[in-house]
Each structure stands twice: as C-alpha cells, then as structure tokens.
Symmetry: D2
Subunit: 133 residues, 4 copies
Amino acid sequence: MPFRLEMKVRDYECDLQGIVNNSVYSNYLEHARHEFLHAQNIDFAQLAAEQIHLVVLRSEIDFKVSLVPGDHFYVEVVPVRLSRLKFAFKQRIFRRQDNKLAIDALVTGVAIDARGRPFLPADIDRVFTAGTV
Amino acid sequence: MPFRLEMKVRDYECDLQGIVNNSVYSNYLEHARHEFLHAQNIDFAQLAAEQIHLVVLRSEIDFKVSLVPGDHFYVEVVPVRLSRLKFAFKQRIFRRQDNKLAIDALVTGVAIDARGRPFLPADIDRVFTAGTV
Amino acid sequence: MPFRLEMKVRDYECDLQGIVNNSVYSNYLEHARHEFLHAQNIDFAQLAAEQIHLVVLRSEIDFKVSLVPGDHFYVEVVPVRLSRLKFAFKQRIFRRQDNKLAIDALVTGVAIDARGRPFLPADIDRVFTAGTV
Amino acid sequence: MPFRLEMKVRDYECDLQGIVNNSVYSNYLEHARHEFLHAQNIDFAQLAAEQIHLVVLRSEIDFKVSLVPGDHFYVEVVPVRLSRLKFAFKQRIFRRQDNKLAIDALVTGVAIDARGRPFLPADIDRVFTAGTV
C-alpha cells in the first residue's frame, strides 16, 4: 500500500473562485513528498542545511475535481526511479468523502551537491528502486 | 511579439533552500495569464463574480533555472487553441539579467458556466485562435 | 480549557532564514480561528457565501520563538467580547516539544452584512460573551 | 518624503471573500521593508546568508479598507528608532485610485547575530536614527 498523508483544506488556501487555488496543490504535493521522505529517514531541510538540494525538474498535474473549504483529502505518494540519477513521485490526491480523484501528478527530481552537480545520495538510491511510471 | 509581464522575486517567495519555492512559479504563471487576459479585455475576477469560471485542467512545468532573491524576470504568454472548447497558454519565464530560460510551461484550461458545464465564451473564442503547441 | 488546534510546520512555509515566515503565522491564526468557529457551528465560508463577512479590524502579534521545519505546535483560541459589535480572539501558539510560547496575538473583528454595515449575528453574540482581554 | 513602493493586487492573493487575504498584507509589508532596506544598501537575503538575521518582534496592523483584484496601491515605509537595539517601521498602505488609507502598521524588529544575540549592525544604526512613533 502506498504512503498516504491525510490533510484538510484551510480557508486561506481558497481563492476568489471559492475553491483551492491551483498553486496550493503544489504546496500539498511538496508537503506530502517531504513527509514521505521523512518516513524514509530523509530530511529535506537537513539536506538543504548540508548543501544537498533535492530539486524538481518537471511537474505534470491533472486537475480533476476542485477541493473546497473544509474538504478532507489524502495524498498518495509512490516513488519511481527514472534513470541512474533521476527519480520521480507519482502523486494522487483523493477527496476523503467519496474517494474521488482530485489531482493526478507526476513530479520528477534530481539531487544536486554543493557544487551544483547532480549526484545520487545513497538514501535516494535506496528509496527509489526501479519501477514503471 | 508575445505578451510579456515584467516581475521581480520577493524575499518571502523564497524557501529554506534560498530560492523561489516551486509552487510560487504557479502564482507567477497565473498572474501573468490573468494580466494577459486583462490586456484582451477579459477579467478573471469579474467572470468569477458572474459564475463563469476559467479553470485549469492540466499544467506541465519544466524547471530550468532557479530564481533567487532580487532576480528580475519576465513571463511570456502565448495563447493556443487546442480544440473547440479547450485552450492553452504557452508560458515561459526568463531571467532578466541574461535572458536565460527559467521556466517552460504549458497550462491547459476550459471555461465552465454557472451549471458547471464547459462552454465557449465569445471572448475566449476570439483570443484563442487556432495554433500549434 | 481553551480551544486548541494541533498543527505542524510544513517546509514550504519556511523562508530563506530557514524559519517559518512571519506572514505564515497569520495563516495559522486564521485557520485556528475558523476551526474554533466551526466547533461553535459558525462556518466562515458559508457566511461569506451568504454575504455575511467576518472581517479583521486589527491584529497585534508578538513573535517570541521562531518555529522551524518539522516543529509540532498548537494554537489556543479564546473568544473575548470587546463591545456590542466588536469581538476579539486571544490567540497563542505554543511549540509542542517544550510548550514554549511562540506567538502571542490579539485579533479584533466585526461582522459586516451584505450592505457593508456592521451588525451582530446571533451566533457571534452567543460565542463572544463578556470577558476581559 | 517617505520611501514609497508601488504595487498591484494579484488575483491569487484574494481569498473566498473576494478580497486580499489578511495575511497577504504581511507579505506586502515585508516586501516593502526589504525594498526600503535595499534602497539603503541593506540586503536582507545577503545578511541571512551571513547569519545575521533581522527578525520581527511585534507587528500591529489596523485594517481600514479591503483591497480587491486589480487594485493599485503603494506602501510607505518610515524608519523609527525605538531604543539602542530595537528599531521599527511605520508602514501605511494606500489605495492608488483615491489615496485612501488601507493599512496602518507598526512593525518592530531587532538584529540577531550568528550566536542568536541581539546586536546593532552599523548600517541599521545609520538608517534608524532617533524619531518618534
């Protein structure tokens, strides 16, 4: 079973259309990725302090259903290895009340060392094993 | 020449990595789309007040170069018609100092009426003429 | 015992100083107020849809301790009646690990009807009884 | 004449009430403070990189008029010296169309060195001369 993070819409995340603003889903997805990594003993903030940066190369997001104030939802995170250095997160957000798919996303990343060069931390290698998108 | 919006990074938009947080680019892109639409006499907020919602169906963003505090940049917006009802914005963000491509994005949308059904406002039809992505 | 909401710092809420950005505390405080109101059967978003707006007149925030990535914290909310129409929320944020006071705030508000005039909804009258700040 | 920064409301800064969300004014105020400091050759981000942190101790904000989508406005910044180590910014936001006062704020801060102790950088001493709030 994939990693799952329970969350809830906050009113301030909604825009003048009365729904969660599109850019906020990127916040949700980032937070879920970092919580997923934490669960694997990888601390994004700690890595940044050590000049190791996990950076996003590309994001693809399909917006299926708009979340509204008060909605409970959960974010699923599935790690996928794309190549020797590149990894990705398959992420889906489901509305809690009816398990409807709200967001379907694929976020690709890479690790960068202090000199700005891509490299492969052992922890990333361990978590992102071969798989198919 | 495509529509172009000049902007500048604000410190609060940067995260603990010291660079603009990924989700903030979605804010930049949205703001540039709305300014582009304004320049075409289409007012997103006014439409929302009339229960006409322009909604994003999909976004694809390639992150090329990270913007940092104080960076000046500009966002280009090119309208593209995808089908009878669907339209898209090709959007690119360039760093001002060296015109380097920072963000390359394609954002697809549709207009929804008060009953939640896709439709084609005349203004949208006018602005998004046939083109290739 | 006062209303209390448990929360956790998310990495994207931190700025280039590596700590929670000051403006984010306003988000935390707003979310806690709205959750407090929900617990009293007052729905901010529903009221807004009915053209009844709860608006903030003034906020005073003392920043005592900076929260950092991963910190757990809780927000306390105490309702205070200031006058016939004005009400306030005494709000304090405590860091979970040592119960240290991080934020001490007083947020004053009023209800506005559809014509923009201050008035006193019965629910607000019920929740905000006389008290001292 | 005080320092003045011209800005414009962006749609994504507005919440489900259709007005600029309260916490966003803290963003505006911070950005104007940092631009004011830049104009005085003080770079907030650069200082942070050198482990010198300018931190906010207290903010008081009076919300007078709500800004809405498309509003142009300007932020005035006036430096005030409160004590040997403490300094403040008197900040006011005016709506451009009618010069109406939208926000009246006082933000108090202090500089912290790498060991977390308050101190007085020469640049801060220079900019924040004696004055009355």
